[in-house]
C-alpha cells in the first residue's frame, strides 16, 4: 500500500485542540458526526479506500505537485532560497481537490448519493463538483451572492460540471453565510446527504479529517526537500490561512516535531484594508475566542457575540474564523500568524507573475508577500517553502477590475486623454 494517512497527537477524543474545536451544533447532527467519525476511522485503515484515493491523487489530480525553486523571486528577496509547493498544478487549480476527492470517496462508501458543499472563492465548489461528477453523485454548492459576483468563472465551471449552485443572500452574502446555509441543508437532509466541508473548520471530526487529507502536501515536501537540499525539513514554511486547510496540510507534518527540529511556521491572514481599519478577516490578530460553525476558535465577533463581517480582497480568505488546530498552534507558539493586506497581496500577485511566470490565486498572494519579507531576513543557505495553494485563473477578472480601478484613481486629478475613434 503506497498511501497512508498520518496520525497526530491532536485533537483529543472529544475533538478538542486544547480549548479549541468541539461540536457546537444542533443535536440533529450529532449522530451524523458520530457516523462520519466511525466511517472515516474505518476507511483510513482500509487498503481498498487508500489505494483508490492514491490512484485518484496520482492519475486524476496529478500528484505529487512540484517543489519548485523560484530563482528570480529568491534573487529579488535576496536571502533564503524560496521554494514553491505547486498546489496550483493540481487538476482544478488548488489544494482543495485533495480533500474533496477523499471526502467524496467516503460519501460513496457510506452510501450517500447527495453531497453538499460551501464555497467562497469557488475552488472548493469546483473541486466538490468535479469529485461528484467523477463518482456520479448529486452535488449542491452553496455560495454567497457577493462571491458569485467575484468568481463568475468558477460558478460557470460548477454548473458545467453538473452541480447546482445555490445563491446565499443572508448575512454578508459570503463564505460564512454559505457555510451556515450548507449546515442548515445538512440538518434538514442529514439522513441521505454527505457534507463535503472545505477547510479545517466545522465540528469534529472535520478539522482533523480535512487536515489528514491535506497532509499529503507536507509529506511530499519532506521527500522533495530531502532530494533537493539533503534534508527533509525546510527552515521556514509559509501558507495563507482562510479556514486554514492548505496551511494545515503543509504545517501539520512538521508541527509536532520537537521544537529544535521544527521549521518556522508562518500563516498569513487576510488583513484587508488593515487590521486597525476594522475591514479585515484576520481572526488571530483582530478576533477573540468564540464559536462559529460548530467549533470554538479565534473569531471576529463583537462584545455581544455577533459575528463581525469579514473583509478580504480574496473570497477564499473572507472568513471570520480560523481552524481550531491553528488556534492551538498560535496559542502555543508552534506557528505564527501574520496579517497581510489587500494591497500587499495584489502587489505580490503581480510580483510573482512578472518574476516567475506564475499567476497565483489572490489567497496565495498573501503568502507570497510574507515569504518574500521573511526570506530577506534569512541566510542564502536557508530555505523557505511557500504553499502555492492555487492558481489565479479564477481571479484574473477581479484583478483586472481592481487594477483598473486603481489606475482610474491615480489618474483622477489629471485630465483624461480623449478617446480616438478611427
Amino acid at each position: 500500500m503506497s498511501l497512508q494517512l498520518p496520525t497526530y497527537p491532536q485533537p483529543d477524543e472529544r475533538g478538542r485542540f486544547g480549548r479549541f474545536g468541539g461540536r457546537y451544533v444542533p443535536e440533529t447532527l450529532i449522530p451524523a458526526l458520530d457516523e462520519l467519525q466511525a466511517a472515516y476511522t474505518e476507511a483510513r485503515n482500509d487498503p481498498a479506500f487508500l489505494n483508490e484515493l492514491d490512484r485518484l491523487l496520482k492519475d486524476f489530480v496529478g500528484r505529487p505537485s512540484g517543489l519548485y525553486l523560484a530563482q528570480r523571486l529568491t534573487e529579488h528577496a535576496g536571502g533564503a532560497k524560496i521554494y514553491l509547493k505547486r498546489e496550483d498544478q493540481n487538476y482544478t487549480g488548488a489544494h482543495k481537490i485533495n480533500n474533496c476527492l477523499a471526502q467524496a470517496l467516503l460519501a460513496k462508501r457510506m452510501g450517500k448519493q447527495r453531497v453538499i458543499a460551501e464555497t467562497g472563492a469557488g475552488q472548493h465548489g469546483v473541486a466538490s463538483a468535479t469529485a461528484a461528477a467523477l463518482l456520479g453523485l448529486e452535488c449542491i454548492v452553496y455560495m454567497g451572492a457577493e462571491d458569485i459576483r467575484r468568481q463568475a468563472l468558477n460558478v460557470f465551471r460548477m454548473k458545467l460540471l453538473g452541480a447546482e449552485v445555490r445563491e446565499v443572500t443572508s448575512g454578508t452574502s459570503t463564505l460564512k453565510d454559505a457555510t451556515n446555509e450548507a449546515i442548515r441543508d445538512w440538518v434538514t437532509n442529514v439522513r441521505d446527504t454527505f457534507y463535503i466541508l472545505g477547510s479545517v473548520v466545522g465540528p469534529h471530526p472535520y478539522p482533523a479529517m480535512v487536515r489528514d487529507f491535506q497532509s499529503i502536501i507536507g509529506e511530499e515536501v519532506k521527500v522533495q526537500h530531502q532530494a533537493l537540499e539533503g534534508r527533509a525539513v525546510p527552515d521556514a514554511i509559509v501558507a495563507c490561512v482562510g479556514g486554514g486547510s492548505n496551511a494545515i496540510g503543509i504545517f501539520a507534518p512538521f508541527a509536532y516535531l520537537p521544537e529544535h527540529e521544527r521549521p518556522l511556521l508562518i500563516g498569513t491572514e487576510a488583513a484587508g484594508e488593515g487590521v486597525e481599519s476594522g475591514k479585515h478577516a484576520a481572526s488571530v490578530a483582530g478576533g477573540r475566542v468564540g464559536v462559529l460553525h460548530g467549533a470554538m476558535m479565534y473569531l471576529l465577533n463583537d462584545d455581544e457575540g455577533q459575528i463581525v463581517p469579514p473583509h478580504s480582497i480574496s473570497a477564499g480568505l473572507d472568513y471570520p474564523g480560523i481552524g481550531p488546530e491553528h488556534c492551538l498552534y498560535s496559542e502555543t507558539g508552534v506557528a505564527q500568524y501574520v496579517p497581510v493586506t489587500d494591497a500587499q497581496a495584489l502587489d505580490a500577485l503581480q510580483l510573482l507573475t512578472r518574476l516567475e511566470g506564475i499567476i497565483p490565486a489572490l489567497e496565495t498572494a498573501h503568502a507570497i508577500h510574507a515569504a518574500v519579507n521573511l526570506a530577506r531576513t534569512m541566510r542564502p543557505d536557508q530555505t523557505v517553502v511557500v504553499n502555492l495553494s492555487g492558481r489565479g485563473d479564477k481571479d484574473v477578472a477581479e484583478v483586472m477590475r481592481l487594477l483598473d480601478l486603481g489606475r482610474e484613481q491615480d489618474a483622477a486629478p489629471a485630465p483624461r486623454t480623449p478617446e480616438v475613434h478611427a
Binding site: 468541539g22 461540536r23 457546537y24 451544533v25 444542533p26 443535536e27 440533529t28 447532527l29 450529532i30 449522530p31 451524523a32 458520530d34 443572508s170 448575512g171 460564512k176 453565510d177 451556515n180 449546515i183 442548515r184 440538518v187 434538514t188 437532509n189 442529514v190 439522513r191 475566542v289 468564540g290 464559536v291 462559529l292 460553525h293 460548530g294 470554538m296 473569531l299 465577533n301 463583537d302 462584545d303 455581544e304 457575540g305 455577533q306 459575528i307
Partner: protein, 270 residues
C-alpha cells in the same frame, strides 16, 4: 461529571409549575416564541405582551447573526432585529421590562456564542437579574460544555437541551438527563419554520423514548403553525412550542394575540 440535575432552582420550579397548571386545565403548555427586538425594538414589547396574555411560558430569542438551527423566517427576523440595534444585553433588558408587567415564566433561546462573548458568568448574572427562568441552547449538546448548565443552576435558572428524530437512544438518555427545565423535542430533522402537511410523523416514537429518561416535562417544537398542528402535538407532548408562525403573523400585520389564543385553544388534551 454530568450537569447536576437541580429541579429545585427557582426557574425550574416555575417552569414545572407552569406545565402542571396547564395540565390541570387539560392542556399541553403553550410556549410561543418571539425574536427579541422584532419587528422593531419599539414594537416588540406590545407583541410580547400579546403573546404573554396567552402563553404558559414565553420563549424569547436573542437575535443572532449566524443562527444555524433556524430557517429563513427566524433568520430574517434576527437580521431585522439586529439591524434595529437589539442584541444580547438589550434582549435581557427587554425581558426585564416584560417581567415587571408579567408573572408568566420566560425562557431565553440563545446560540452559545453570545454567552461566551459576554462571559458565561456575567451572562448568567444579567439573565438572573432580568428574571429569566431558563435557557434553551440549540447549538449546545449537553456534553460539550458542562459549565454552562452548572452556572445557570447557580444563578437560579433551568436549562433545556434538544433531541431530534435522528437522536440515538444513548443520546436521548444523555440529553434528557441533562435537562432541568423541560426537554425540547424537535419534531423533524430540519431547521425551524412552518411546513406543509403534517411534520409530526416522527414525534410519537421519539417521545416514547424520551419519556423513559426525562425527569422533566417534554415539549415539542418546529413546524407547529396553527391550532390544528398544535392539537396533534398536544396529544403526545406536555408542551407545544410555536415560533415562525408568530413571526410570519407579525410580518403580515395579523393579530398576534388572536392567533395565540387560537393555538392555545388547540393545545387542549383529550
Amino acid at each position: 461529571m454530568t450537569a447536576t440535575l437541580t429541579p429545585t432552582t427557582p426557574g425550574a420550579a416555575r417552569l414545572h409549575a407552569a406545565f402542571a397548571r396547564a395540565k390541570q386545565e387539560g392542556r399541553a403548555a403553550f410556549i410561543p416564541f418571539m425574536t427579541a427586538g422584532y419587528p422593531t425594538a419599539q414594537a416588540f414589547p406590545a407583541v410580547a405582551d400579546a403573546l404573554l396574555g396567552q402563553a404558559d411560558i414565553l420563549e424569547v430569542g436573542i437575535p443572532y447573526s449566524d443562527p444555524l438551527g433556524d430557517g429563513p423566517t427566524i433568520q430574517r427576523a434576527s437580521e431585522q432585529a439586529l439591524a434595529g440595534g437589539t442584541s444580547t444585553r438589550h434582549t435581557l433588558a427587554l425581558v426585564r421590562e416584560l417581567r415587571s408587567r408579567h408573572d408568566t415564566p420566560i425562557v431565553i433561546m440563545t446560540y452559545v456564542n453570545p454567552i461566551y462573548a459576554v462571559g458565561p458568568r456575567e451572562f448568567m448574572r444579567l439573565a438572573q437579574e432580568a428574571g429569566v427562568d431558563g435557557l434553551i441552547l440549540p447549538d449546545l449538546p449537553p456534553d460539550q460544555d458542562l459549565e454552562i448548565a452548572d452556572l445557570a443552576a447557580e444563578h437560579g435558572m433551568a436549562v433545556t437541551f434538544l433531541i431530534a428524530p435522528t437522536s440515538t437512544p444513548a443520546r436521548v438518555k444523555l440529553v434528557a438527563e441533562a435537562c432541568t427545565g423541560f426537554l425540547y423535542a424537535v419534531s423533524v430533522t430540519g431547521v425551524t419554520g412552518t411546513r406543509e402537511g403534517s411534520a409530526l410523523n416522527e414525534v410519537p416514537a421519539m417521545l416514547a423514548l424520551a419519556r423513559q429518561y426525562a425527569r422533566v416535562p417534554v415539549a415539542v417544537g418546529f413546524g407547529v403553525k396553527d391550532a390544528e398542528t398544535a392539537a396533534q402535538v398536544a396529544q403526545v407532548a406536555d408542551g407545544v412550542v410555536v415560533g415562525s408562525a408568530f413571526i410570519n403573523a407579525v410580518k403580515a400585520g395579523q393579530d398576534v394575540g388572536a392567533l395565540a389564543a387560537s393555538i392555545r385553544e388547540g393545545c387542549t388534551q383529550n
